[in-house]
């Protein structure tokens, strides 16, 4: 059984705020990051994800709890003694050194021989496709190029863990998409554990092996991208990642595989597992817009009936706002557009909503 790369054990971090009131940035967070994993800390700004990264790097120390790196506690170790390197949000390249000197810097600090250092720096620059830029100064590079140099510099000393603090947020969209693929490839090539901090759910879903969703200094959910997307444990996770319809309802009855919930007079919806709720309990249901299929109403079809209130064209899809019959619930439904590019339904049309089995989830709020 290989040792996990990082174990965060019940870590709390309290800062002294400007006004003298203590601010809790992390509240009893426990996490395990496996070796050779692309792990993402995801959450809105101020959720504590960057603080957690800084605790791992050693820029801050936990108020309570402990961080264990490959089985060894790193309590009290300063950053220069941790086999962990950081790629900073704004790259933090040394402006008075060339690209090659920047990449060679950690090696020089570790006392490597100059010829060995030059070779390693060249290899690293090659790895990030910047081999021809060694003699440039950082201010002669574009944002994307600086990003690559920062990566090469952080990877050069072969850290056991690479920490990435929103490294793509300063790049434009095209470059960002390109770098996502490259980062993922780089992680596979080097076999180094990546801990990636982002507030961008798409980044998290596309790159990660596992994701930890954080909010208000607390860990909300930890799991694979699919698990996080398909089985969000609470309203925050469901809302933060992807689009979700939330419906307030009460449980009308328990069935063998789930529950039946009332969402309007005489209108019910079958749901997935009920957690620990029983008949008559008020619950919040979550349904993803793409899990509902619209069918033209021929009057006789059973299922949920509704009327299209609004169409928003988004290219491949159209988002329909559908008002349910016998209910004041409005659902967003995503439907593929026809091959010819037309939207399949018009405003005012009556439709039937087919909700897939288990698509509606009862949230453990």
């Amino acid at each position: 059984m290989p040792k996990p790369a990082i174990e965060i054990k019940n870590v709390t971090k309290i800062f002294q705020g400007h006004t003298g009131h203590p601010v809790t940035a992390l509240d009893h967070v426990s996490l395990t990051i496996e070796d050779n994993e692309f792990f993402t800390l995801l959450g809105p700004s101020g959720c504590g994800k960057t603080t957690l990264l800084r605790l791992i790097a050693g820029f801050e120390y936990p108020t309570q709890g402990e961080i264990v790196l490959f089985g060894d506690s790193i309590r009290g170790l300063p950053p220069q003694q941790r086999p962990v390197n950081t790629v900073f949000q704004h790259y933090a390249l040394f402006p008075h050194m060339t690209v090659a000197e920047n990449v060679g810097f950690p090696l020089k600090m570790q006392g490597q021989r100059p010829d060995e250092m030059t070779r390693t720096a060249a290899r690293m620059l090659d790895l990030v496709k910047m081999a021809d830029f060694g003699d440039r100064m950082p201010d002669q590079l574009s944002g994307g190029q600086q990003q690559r140099v920062a990566l090469a510099r952080a990877l050069a000393p072969q850290p056991k863990v690479l920490l990435l603090d929103e490294p793509l947020s300063a790049l434009d969209l095209k470059l960002r998409q390109e770098m996502r693929v490259e980062l993922k490839n780089l992680q596979r090539q080097t076999g180094i554990t990546f801990v990636f901090v982002t507030h961008d759910q798409v980044e998290a879903l596309t790159m990660s092996d596992r994701i930890a969703v954080m909010s208000m200094g607390r860990l909300q959910q930890e799991g694979t991208p699919i698990a996080i997307y398909e089985q969000p444990v609470n309203r925050f996770v469901a809302d933060f990642i992807g689009e979700t319809n939330f419906i307030q309802s009460t449980i009308a009855g328990i069935e063998n595989s789930g529950a039946r919930c009332t969402i309007g007079p005489g209108t019910t919806l079958g749901t997935g597992a009920t957690a620990d709720k029983g008949k008559g309990d008020a619950v919040t249901l979550a349904i993803r817009p793409e899990k509902i299929r619209l069918v033209k109403s021929d009057g006789a079809a059973d299922g949920l009936q509704g009327r299209v209130a609004e169409c928003i064209y988004t290219g491949t899809d159209t988002n329909y706002q559908v008002e349910l019959e016998n209910s004041d619930v409005r659902l967003v439904v995503r439907g593929r557009n026809a091959i010819t590019g037309e939207t399949l339904f018009k405003v005012g049309e009556t439709v039937v909503l087919n909700v897939a089995e288990g698509a509606a989830r009862i949230l453990a709020d």
């Binding site: 050693g58 820029f59 300063p78 950081t86 040394f94 060339t98 810097f105 950690p106 600090m109 952080a154």
Partner: protein, 299 residues
């Protein structure tokens, strides 16, 4: 074309006042001094309008009884002493000023501004008055000696006033803000992320200082050193008041030539020689940072 001319015209007009002030208050006096330095002195003050290299000869030679030129190192020694004192003052100002400026720059914004304000307080009082205060502090019956005797640390008063030590102390005291402020302006802009990045990339505190902070603070250090070194070299108030005029400095020497000695050409020549040294120092400053930005082979 017309537009270009008009912008050029406006540029000239805009620069006009500044050029006028510099031209009148700098170029004209320097031209006068250059002219004076090549004339003969008038024992009643002023100059006799005759061409002569006497002033420059006097700098290195003196005439003996037979009216022959003999090498005389007295003035060179004065220059040498002034240089040593100016270099020493600059070094001590840097030694005290850099940590001070660095410490100031790492404070929260409000504390920072307060500290910059405190550094500028000495400028509010005239230099002469501050120099006399040092006399009150340093003299044999001064505050420092009185307390040292009262507390039984010494029996006899220490002679501090009118020594090289007093000059040195006075020069460091008056010039240290000129070292602190440019360095502060530089390190205050230092990206804190760079310091974290250096630590993260295995730099110890000493390595961080040597490889990151000092190179990035270099322009401020050079500017501060010049701002201390150049005025120190020509200073005469502090050497006169705290040194008692016993040890001549370049500044005092020049002042003396225009005053008591009534040798304006020699005073002008000494001032020009001093200025040429200062110009050399300035050129090092102008070319220095350019060289610094290029990659170093091995640092």
């Amino acid at each position: 074309m017309r537009l270009l001319q008009s912008t050029q015209m406006r540029r000239v007009l805009g620069l006009g006042p500044a050029l006028g002030i510099i031209g009148f208050f700098m170029v004209v006096p320097i031209a006068i001094i250059i002219v004076f330095s090549f004339m003969k002195s008038n024992p009643y003050g002023g100059v006799n309008p005759e061409f002569s290299l006497e002033a420059y000869k006097q700098f290195l030679f003196e005439r003996n009884l037979m009216d022959e030129l003999v090498f005389n190192a007295a003035y060179l020694r004065i220059f040498g002493r002034s240089f040593l004192l100016a270099i020493g003052t600059t070094a001590l100002c840097l030694l005290i000023g850099f940590p001070t400026a660095y410490y100031m720059s790492r404070q929260p914004a409000r504390r920072k501004n307060l500290m910059v304000f405190l550094v500028t307080i000495p400028f509010w009082t005239n230099l002469l008055i501050r120099a006399y205060c040092w006399i009150l502090l340093l003299r044999d019956t001064g505050i420092i000696n009185n307390y040292l005797i009262k507390w039984g640390i010494i029996d006899e008063p220490l002679t501090m006033l009118y020594t090289n030590f007093a000059i040195f102390l006075g020069l460091v005291y008056t010039h240290i803000p000129f070292m602190v402020l440019p360095i502060y302006a530089r390190v205050e802009k230092l990206d804190f992320n760079l310091l974290e990045a250096a630590h993260d990339l295995y730099a110890s505190r000493q390595q961080l200082m040597r490889h990151v902070i000092l190179p990035l603070a270099a322009p401020g250090i050079i500017a501060g050193s010049l701002l201390v070194f150049v005025p120190c070299l020509g200073d005469f108030i502090i050497p006169n008041l705290l040194g008692g005029g016993k040890h001549l400095m370049i500044g005092s020497l020049i002042q003396l030539q225009f005053g008591g000695s009534r040798n304006w050409p020699f005073g002008s020549a000494a001032a020009l020689i001093l200025m040429s040294f200062v110009l050399i120092a300035m050129m090092i400053y102008v070319w220095g940072p350019g060289r610094k930005m290029k990659p170093e082979g091995d640092a």
